[in-house]
Amino acid sequence: MLPLAFLGLFFAWPVLAIVSLGLREGGVASVLVDGDTWELVGFTLGQALASTVVAVVAGMPLAFVLARCRIRGLGVIRAAVMVPFVLPTVVVGLAFRTFWPDGGVLPIVLANAFFNVAVVARTVGGLWAHTDRRAEDAARALGASRPRAFLSVVLPALAPAIGSAAAVVFLFCATSFGVVLVLGGSRYRTLETEIYLRTVELFDLSGAAALSLLQFLAVLAVLVLGALARRRRETALALRDREELARRPSGGEWYVVFAAFAVVAALLTPVVGLVTRSLSTRDGWSLAGYVALNTRGDRGTLAVTGIDAAVNSLRTAFDATLVALVVGVFSAVVLVGLRRSGSRVSEVLDTALMLPLGVSAVTVGFGYLITMDALPGDFRTSPMLVPLAQALVVTPLIVRMVLPVLRAVDERLRQAAATLGASPLRVWREVDLPLAGRSLVAAAGFGYVVALGEFGATSFLARPDAPTLPVVIARLMSRPGELNSQMAYAACALLMVVTVGCVLLIERLRVPSSGEF
């Protein structure tokens, strides 16, 4: 009930309130019969699909390397992959514009993929690191080629994780806002950008409500398709510990490793561009931007210093992750339980939990305005609203990362434990937790980083005296003066350093894994 209450209070209620306000105004039908609207739907889904394909293709070699290879510098790769995820879209959009000055569909797709490769690498890598290698080795011993063994043994085992990751990436891309705005060259529009314009600039709530409904239906359709695809695939896998599965790559595997390094290099190109820009001024190299991080910007652009904003970011993301972990793990456990008892409710709940990723941040934000004053103490201006809104985005990710691993736990192990007299809680602690522990830590780390980088809802809700780093960066970018833009890029660099630091720290918190099962 806890996940549903959270979702209902901070998501369903505000969204329904604002959409129904729009619907009451009428005029929805005229939007729905407009040809432009359907073009929007087509472009939104098309670019999201293309971005998802690119992200999955680019993410798979990384997942392989992270899960299966014993090579030097793995921790660095793991951290580097996460960096794109936290970068503000406006900054990345500008970085892509240096390569494609006129924007267009290709840079939109690539930029969306850039942000989301980490989702694939992490989610798929998480499961891959624990799938038994022996079936694959057996197939090879029986004469299957490497590609054949991959396609008929490994890929089916990974399918649930790939499906999960693809669904998340698709939702992120379908609702991507900054990228489309900056790289759309003002020609390409999506449902998300149009909902924003209609809500915020034109105050056309009925039009926005119509588009929100379409967005909702489109997202729901994709989620249901994804759930159907997953349904047939999930089986118990013999989960193992990564340490005994990782090997030095051999033979053809090196090609995959090289591909992974190529992806990392591609991911780092815009990042290097940003760092260069943070150091170069019209008059040569300078650290002025970094020095300015300890100030409120050129002539007090900000209400707090860059460093204060960084500290606030860390604190807010911690609260958000905590809430999301509680709700997310609880949900995952409930979902697995329901699934084991053969209930269809699990699929409905599963889909519902994903919806916050597919609904426009501005819809949720405006919804808060007209609903949250009913909560005690006028919640609309509460500083708690920021971490809660971030948790809304993080929770589905945690569910998606933990669920495939929990589901893959062999039921016979649990039955054996129960037969030997263990209580359900003890079964969970002794069997599920050790097996899923690493995924849980990885999910928490990933969620933390997502919360650090969250911009849409945060910029809508953050108070000026307590902004997060992405909000500060956007603000600095919107002011003239070289020092402000310098400081914005330095703040991006700081955000990246903080991210890498967090990922490396979380990597160290390894949950002791159990031995052979």
């Binding site: 500008l94 060259g185 003002s186 915020v200 105050f203 007090g300 108070r463 603000r475 003239p480 070289e482």
Partner: protein, 301 residues
């Protein structure tokens, strides 16, 4: 409640809080459009008591929705009344900010545009970058300026010429100014920005004062305010001398009050444009969507 760009010197605010005994809590709410719409949505139970940042583009929406209560501030007669939105005293002008072309004289090499007409001249082919009026508030202001200048039936022809002359359209000010403008990183020496922007560039850029469109930013007491007496005092403070003296430096806008000195760098690099274009607020409200749509078909179709 304010828009995101509201900044006040901490000591000035501190002094006001001490002398009046009023605690001021600021809640920033996006740009002028977002702020206005939030005010309309919450008018039955407003988040704050005073709102600052509704601008001339959105003023008529706020007024027709009854967001603001009447209050004839004694400070309004000292200059603010020059920019009033209507005769009801519900909104008081706090500052004015003009959207003008900014140029990079070094890159233009002595040949500088002086007027709207010049932009259509082949001399300035592929030199101009503007923001999309559908997604950017300076972009919209520039479009409104051309409508004020060439009339409701003449601006389309002007923009057709601009298009033929290679105007580049981007979606926001950040890209236009930080990425395309030659004074920062790009290669276009003419950009739509603010009259005040040159004050931040140390004399490297200039505003073209005959291509400006005036935007006025208003403040008012909310009609559902819970502390309306204190709200009135805060409004007086916003129009008062001490606050007005620091708006230029803090928010890159010009004070509405008369006789307030501008900072030195402004007098030199960013004087207030003498004869900016304007359009009546209700006309903007009624036609804005249609104009932007026409513009979209014309320039991007």
């Amino acid at each position: 409640m304010t828009h995101d760009s509201f900044v006040v010197k901490p000591e000035v605010l501190e002094e006001f809080q001490k002398s009046s005994g009023i605690t001021v809590k600021q809640i920033a709410s996006g740009d002028a459009g977002e702020l206005t719409n939030k005010l309309v949505l919450t008018k039955a139970n407003p988040i704050g008591d005073v709102a600052f940042g509704v601008d001339s583009t959105f003023a008529s929406r706020a007024l027709s929705e009854g967001v603001f209560a009447e209050y004839a501030s004694p400070e309004a007669s000292k200059g603010a009344a020059r920019y009033k939105a209507d005769d009801t005293n519900r909104l008081q002008a706090v500052d004015v900010g003009d959207v003008c072309l900014n140029i990079d004289p070094a890159k233009l090499g002595g040949v500088e545009p002086k007027s709207y007409d010049d932009l259509a001249d082949p001399k300035f082919k592929d030199k101009l970058v503007v923001e999309n009026p559908a997604t950017s508030s300076p972009g919209l202001a520039f479009l409104l300026g051309t409508i004020a200048k060439y009339g409701e039936n003449g601006w389309q022809e002007y923009w057709t010429k601009l298009k033929a002359n290679g105007v580049k359209v981007v979606s926001g000010w950040e890209e236009a100014y930080n990425q395309e403008f030659s004074a920062t990183k790009g290669d276009r020496p003419i950009v739509v920005s603010y009259a005040s922007s040159p004050s931040a560039e140390g004399g490297k850029t200039k505003a073209v004062l005959d291509t400006c469109y005036r935007q006025v930013e208003y403040a008012g007491v909310l009609s559902g305010a819970k502390n309306s007496e204190d709200a009135k005092k805060v409004l007086d403070f916003l129009l008062g001398e001490k606050f007005q003296a620091q708006v230029a430096e803090q928010m890159y806008v010009y004070p509405s009050r008369e006789g307030v000195a501008l900072p030195e760098s402004w007098a030199k690099d960013a004087p207030l444009p003498p004869n900016p274009q304007t359009l009546p607020a209700d006309k903007v409200k009624d036609n804005r969507e249609a104009w932007v749509e026409q513009w979209r078909k014309l320039v991007q179709g």
